[in-house]
Symmetry: C2
Subunit: 550 residues, 2 copies
């Protein structure tokens, strides 16, 4: 069974090294290229996706009392796929039963299985890209990258942090205590990893794999069994993951039920039953703060790891590249129509304007500069659809409609020629309108907020992060002193800060093996991807010891 | 401020190495010897203790709205010491205010302060031994070892695990992402440690320092401020610790209020106010399961680390050293009159007896062998008092009185010539009496339980650990095959197992830098001293990044 471990030893070593260096490193190529993935990979992936449509998804041996499935696509008709389903109790029992063998496996056997799953998921990246595109509304290029290789890198990161955590102390030791002139006491000690038990990973609709893999693989690698509970509108990407996981588990001699699918339908979700189930020991959750609150309060003794939401801010104090700044912000606002937990919502700009390489710019000129950059980015309809994709949830369209009356419209939102789509809406408000811009407005809605000066903007943004949560913050400034003060203010608010981004790198982006995603230090989540705390509490060491024969 | 770090660098390095090796290592000598601690140390420590009696304990600058203190000693009259006290709100505010500077300090500055505190607490070990002896009822030798050097080692372990956790990833990195034929994107990234905020450490009466230091120092080292909330009957050992901590903090230029004392009196405890206070982010608790439950349910969003209680078992399957086994168990039952969270309570013995080096021994002969060994150990009154010490809480004496009727008395409990003392009570029961032996009976009360055979005993003991919690388990056996099965069964129950202990090493003992204390994997506690999980979640990393100039 440790054949798989040996097979992937080099990958593991490289990834361990990357964890320590924290520079750029990626195991799974992000380019949807035939040269990398095989010339037929694109066509094969599409064919595999299409073969799954309008049929019963096959998960051999999976517990099943009924079939569920009601997924729709912004890009075509309903998917028409049904998945095996069972109630929470049946799933937890099956998961616990499979856990007997999984918990007894060696660290190497489990890590080998996890790595093999990820490598096979990577090979299925084109099939996955189609699955992600049609359940999330992302355009194909983003669905490939974020739903495929980037998610796989995040999963790998969790596996490797788990391996590091389980092996950084020895599995056995000799303890020799001097006794003065008498012979020393010599004991042998042995430690083993004890997993917590059954884990539930609750996925979200917008990034089912990217946000789901860290919890899934952190639990799995540390010996827990996992019930994967997809969002009812984005089941396929996780069902595909579960199918591959079960195949690898079976081939390696483990029960397939080590990984289960907890599929359900909108209006008949099983999430609450799973969260409240006393047999569940770990819960990973990505989603709204409101339901996150409910999860944390109803999880009983289970360990809960959340990524929730917040209000991300940009503060514009000054810039020596006005066009580059506007273009960079425009892309961050437009990408997947702001449906990223990392997308900026509030842009704080001094009411008297800022200094730039193009001279002084008034508040309105800065706001208009950003709006114009959005217009430019989205001027070509094909590119616009490729950047923005579709809107995953109709509620977001209603939110945009309401937001128009919240202030002065600087840039209006419009459809993009695909069903259920919307370009960025930019609304101008004043610092006093904190009830407006201080509430999370998920989707392509942003506020340019006139503040007294740059420090006031930093103070306001940091306070929002502390009180409402924030996953990202950005600053444009030319003063090293003010940058230093902002660095401290945002660190205290527990939010990661990007300074003066221009060109092809964006505040929305969080890279595995380098950027921790979410800090866990403000209300936007209680955990961080992937630090030691995210993994270390999913297992325990148990020891046995005895005197060592002389 | 990092002078202190440099001063203790060698100690830190040695301790880091010990963590990785997990053999025997100790920074603070356990022998109460004048050669080590100075010829006058014993007399000086006693004098310092006596000088504190019947007076107002001085903690310069400590928040104070009133004085409290109602400590008693089993060895002399009441202590008559009063401590400064304030309500929870005042303490939390003072702690948070002090946290501004503490959070901004470098890792090295904080670690240096923590190490200096521990080294100074070590120098005060004789004063501490008197403080521990007179508040816990421990005899002097144990009060010195467990309350002094062993507790200091546990505190050091927490500091060093925290240092390791904060520094295992770099504070900055260069991230360089290739862009095909274009110039790579190059970013600089910087991470800082963000503490959670205000921590509360809730101490217990029996081991105020040993059980308190890990949480106190883990929180402190990771940048949190700590309110030390002692048991109202054992304030002095922690007040002494707080005094030294505040002295070191002040000398190093930090606010003394980084460490505060939350003293109170029996019947007017402030613990619940502190636990429910929304300004508290971390809680460490040692005590009963009942109150532990309450803490976990009322702590809000605070991280809670508990060491609670359980039912520890010994299973006797066979032995090739009957006398050694009986003597070893006798000591474990007698030490501090069973008032250790690691003391055995249930001894499972096959109803038809066991094979030994002295031939077959019936159930009764094994039980009587243990009872006789207890008698022998305690035959000399001075030694008996030295081993057993006093009973910390009168409720324990009532429990002993009631326990006599729970089964057949194999060995009766008796006073030891010091106030409020009791030797071990041993009661024989049957496996069916699970309600009796399955409930925790804190103090010198143990049950010899007749089981069908050794595997039945292992099964029963492991199940008790899973359901009621257990911190230790012990096994006597001569069959390697059965030992292997027991190792698996107890590991699954999340309990550390000692096999065939004889001589001067006991199941009750848990050594810093080698043994993890409590696993956190059964109801006897949700945390383990001191694994990465105990420390890693007390802080977060926050990053800032920007493009690096070419």
């Amino acid at each position: 069974m440790s054949d798989l471990f040996e097979r992937h030893q080099a990958l593991l070593d490289d990834a361990l090294n990357a964890l320590r260096v924290r520079g750029f490193w990626s195991a799974f190529p992000e380019a949807p290229s035939g040269k990398i993935y095989g010339e037929s990979a694109k066509a094969d992936g599409l064919a595999a996706f299409e073969a799954a449509l309008k049929s019963a998804y096959d998960l051999p041996g999976h517990p099943e009392t009924k079939r569920v499935g009601n997924e729709e696509s912004a890009w075509m008709s309903a998917l028409g796929i049904t998945y095996p389903a069972a109630d929470a109790d049946m799933l937890v029992k099956a998961s616990a039963a499979a856990g007997e063998a999984w918990a007894m496996a060696s660290i190497e056997a489990r890590i080998g299985v996890c790595l093999e799953i990820l490598v096979r998921v990577n090979k299925a990246s084109f099939e996955m890209a189609n699955a992600v595109m049609h359940t999330t509304g992302q355009a194909f290029p983003m669905a490939f990258q974020a739903g495929g290789p980037h998610a796989q890198d995040r999963g790998l990161e969790a596996v490797v942090v788990a391996y590091d955590e389980m092996t950084r102390t020895p599995a056995s030791a000799i303890w020799e205590k001097p006794q003065g002139k008498a012979a020393p006491i010599v004991m042998e000690k042995h430690w083993s990893v004890v997993p917590r038990g059954v884990a539930v990973m609750i996925g979200c609709q917008t990034f089912p794999t990217w946000n789901g893999y860290p919890g899934l693989f952190a639990s799995l690698a540390t010996g827990n069994t996992v019930i994967v509970k997809p969002h009812p509108k984005a089941i396929l990407p996780l069902a595909l993951t579960v199918r591959i996981a079960r195949e690898v588990l079976t081939e390696a001699g483990f029960p397939a039920d080590v990984v289960l699918l907890g599929a359900d339908e909108p209006g008949a979700e099983t999430t609450k039953d799973l969260v409240r189930h006393e047999g569940v020991e770990i819960i990973d959750y990505t989603g709204s703060n409101a339901f996150g609150d409910w999860v944390r309060q109803n999880a009983g003794a289970a360990q809960v790891y959340t990524e929730e939401a917040g209000v991300n801010s940009i503060v514009i104090a000054a810039t020596d590249d006005f066009d580059g700044m506007c273009a960079n912000i425009a892309f961050s606002l437009s990408l997947y129509s702001g449906q990223m937990c990392t997308a900026p919502q509030d842009i704080f700009i001094p009411k008297d304007g800022i200094e730039t390489d193009q001279g002084h710019k008034s508040f309105d000129q800065v706001a208009e500069g950003i709006a114009a950059a959005v217009d430019g980015l989205l001027s070509d309809p094909a590119r616009a659809a490729g950047v923005c994709g579709a809107i995953a949830n109709p509620v977001t369209l209603e939110r945009i409609a309401k937001a128009r009356s919240l202030g002065r419209v600087v840039r209006d939102s419009a459809g993009l020629g695909i069903e259920q789509s919307a370009s960025p809406l930019i609304i101008a408000v004043n610092e006093a309108d904190a009830e407006t811009y201080g509430a999370e407005c998920f989707g392509p809605i942003s506020f340019v907020v006139a503040v007294e000066d740059a420090p006031a903007g930093i103070k306001r943004a940091a306070r929002l992060a502390r009180e409402k949560g924030a996953i990202t913050a950005a600053l444009y400034d030319t003063s090293e002193e003010r940058i230093g003060q902002a660095v401290q203010a945002f660190a205290k608010a527990g939010v990661n800060l990007s300074v003066n981004l221009t060109g092809n790198i964006f505040v929305n982006q969080s890279a595995a093996f380098s950027d921790y995603h979410v800090t866990g230090a403000n209300p936007a989540g209680n955990a961080s991807l992937t630090d030691a705390a995210f993994v270390a509490n999913r297992f325990r060491f148990a020891m046995w010891r005895r005197l060592k024969a002389a």
